[in-house]
């Protein structure tokens, strides 16, 4: 039997924190990923494919490398972090907001990649038809491109959410493992195993697996196309 000591502190609080971090990380990665994906699908510009590779890097780099970059950037001595600390008194390291930034950087490529290919998959004739019918670029984006690409984008966002939920390395480096403040489920599992709390570890591991499985199934369902001629 799974009996957990202090179930609220041990499991519920990390879980809620993980959900909060993953939610905001998905929001950040979602908006920036959709915008970037759309621009990259529509415009040809200098260094486009180089930038594409840079934006995809977080998917393949070790999370510790990303964590290191982030510390260099937003740490108290970092370029951005130093400025924020001096001028606005904001410190991101060892805060849940820092965890959000770490998780959104790691999950950004998942949104960006799927958004770009979803937008590229929308037949150019639909946009041309809309243009001839008097629509501006913005109107075409909201009335044609987005509705025809949303399945791919939503699937990407779900993957990003799952990825953000499971983020460990970069989060640990940037936000640390402060129980109740920055200790997310994945970090809590690590701590639980370290401290021999097997029941807690088992419970959190099962919970995480189930949540991620549900998300993956969900994103697969979303991707099933409803329109026969929707993409070609």
């Amino acid at each position: 039997m799974l009996v957990i000591d202090h179930p609220i502190e041990g499991a519920l609080i990390p879980l809620l924190l993980s959900l909060k971090v993953a939610f905001w990380a998905t929001m950040l990665a979602g908006l920036s990923g959709i915008a970037t994906g759309f621009i990259f699908s529509r415009r040809v510009f200098f260094l486009r494919e180089f930038l594409d590779a840079v934006f995809t890097l977080p998917m393949v780099l070790p999370p510790t490398v990303i964590g290191y970059y982030l510390l260099v950037l937003i740490g108290r001595q970092g370029f951005l972090g130093g400025w924020l600390d001096e001028n606005l008194g904001i410190n991101l390291v060892f805060t849940w907001q820092g965890a959000v930034i770490a998780a959104s950087v790691v999950s950004f490529p998942l949104v960006y990649k799927s958004a770009r290919s979803a937008f590229e998959g929308v037949n150019i004739q639909y946009r041309q038809a809309a243009e001839i019918l008097g629509k501006s670029e913005w109107a075409i984006f909201f009335s044609v491109s987005l509705p025809l690409a949303w399945r791919g984008i939503l699937a990407g966002c779900l993957m990003a959410f799952a990825r953000a939920l499971g983020e460990f390395g970069a989060t640990l480096m940037v936000a640390g493992s402060l129980p109740g403040r920055t200790q997310t489920v994945s970090v809590a599992i690590y701590e639980a195993v370290e401290m021999g709390k097997d029941n807690l570890a088992n419970f959190l591991v099962l919970l995480t697996s189930v949540v991620c499985l549900v998300i993956l199934i969900g994103s697969g369902q979303v991707l099933k196309s409803k329109y026969e001629s929707g993409r070609n």
């Binding site: 639909y126 041309q128 243009e131 001839i132 019918l133 008097g134 629509k135 009335s143 025809l148």
Partner: protein, 260 residues
């Protein structure tokens, strides 16, 4: 309505270079641009609509310049008020028949068309006999219905010109005869000049008041078909004369079997 086109554009691709250099004037109700695939028909239609930008030249409708390379004028497609029916119709797959037709009269903020537009949509649904399927999605209706939706959609804002790219190519042969007649009726009802591109000689025989023959990116011939010897006293097209004309210019050998 006078449509003047004089454009020049060079395309480079892996299969070589293609030069489009066409010059024609149209003042007729139905014009057919006839030519083999790859003769530059669709490119010309797209240039008229504003989807392709020529390198050089000029496009004007009733003296109003839509494109002029010397004066550096390019009116964007959305401001040209030209109706365009794509070869495979390009109906928005996420919108119902009514929504497709109303599209030009709605915005992404106001999804409902205003009263005047709504009346116009209902009128088009009626004329094109689409009421029964108005709540269907494009993939739920037949090819002929799809074409009627595409034409209705293009006519919503009362365009000054209607362009159709191979409008009958996607239909089965029996349906073609009927839809050609419908198109003539549409032209009369809406009094909108129509330019059709086609490689089907039957379209030329039945529809063309003016025939423009394209060959390898050039205008081979531009000729009125609504006068003798191509029309009889009743104004009906004389098939044999038109056929001879097409064979002559298309370089089809006499005596060979012709499909029409």
């Amino acid at each position: 309505m006078k449509i003047e086109v004089d454009i020049n554009k060079t395309f480079h691709s892996t299969s070589g270079t293609f030069v489009l250099n066409v010059d024609f004037t149209v003042e007729d109700s139905i014009t057919v641009i006839f030519g083999a695939s790859g003769s530059g028909k669709t490119l010309t239609l797209k240039a008229l609509a504003g989807l392709e930008k020529p390198d050089k030249g000029r496009i004007a409708i009733d003296g109003e310049t839509l494109f002029n390379s010397e004066q550096n004028i390019t009116v964007p497609a959305r401001l040209r008020n030209i109706g365009y029916v794509f070869q495979d119709y390009a109906l928005f797959p996420h919108l119902r028949v009514t929504e497709n037709i109303a599209f030009a009269g709605t915005s992404w903020i106001h999804k409902q068309p205003n009263k005047q537009m709504l009346g116009r949509v209902e009128e088009l649904l009626e004329i094109f006999e689409l009421n029964r399927i108005k709540n269907n999605f494009p993939w739920q209706i037949s090819g002929g219905q799809r074409q009627r939706v595409a034409i209705a959609r293009a006519l919503l804002l009362k365009p000054s010109l209607l362009l159709l790219d191979e409008p009958f190519a996607a239909l089965d042969p029996l349906l073609r005869i009927k839809t050609r007649e419908e198109l003539v009726n549409t032209q009369r009802h809406f009094e909108v000049p129509i330019i059709i591109i086609s490689h089907d000689p039957q379209d030329v025989v039945v529809l063309a008041e003016k025939l423009i023959i394209f060959k390898d990116g050039l205008v081979e011939k531009s000729i009125h078909l609504n006068v003798p010897p191509y029309r009889n006293k009743e104004g009906k097209p004389i098939r044999s004369e038109i056929r001879e004309l097409l064979m002559e210019t298309a370089g089809i050998k006499e005596g060979g079997s012709t499909p029409w």
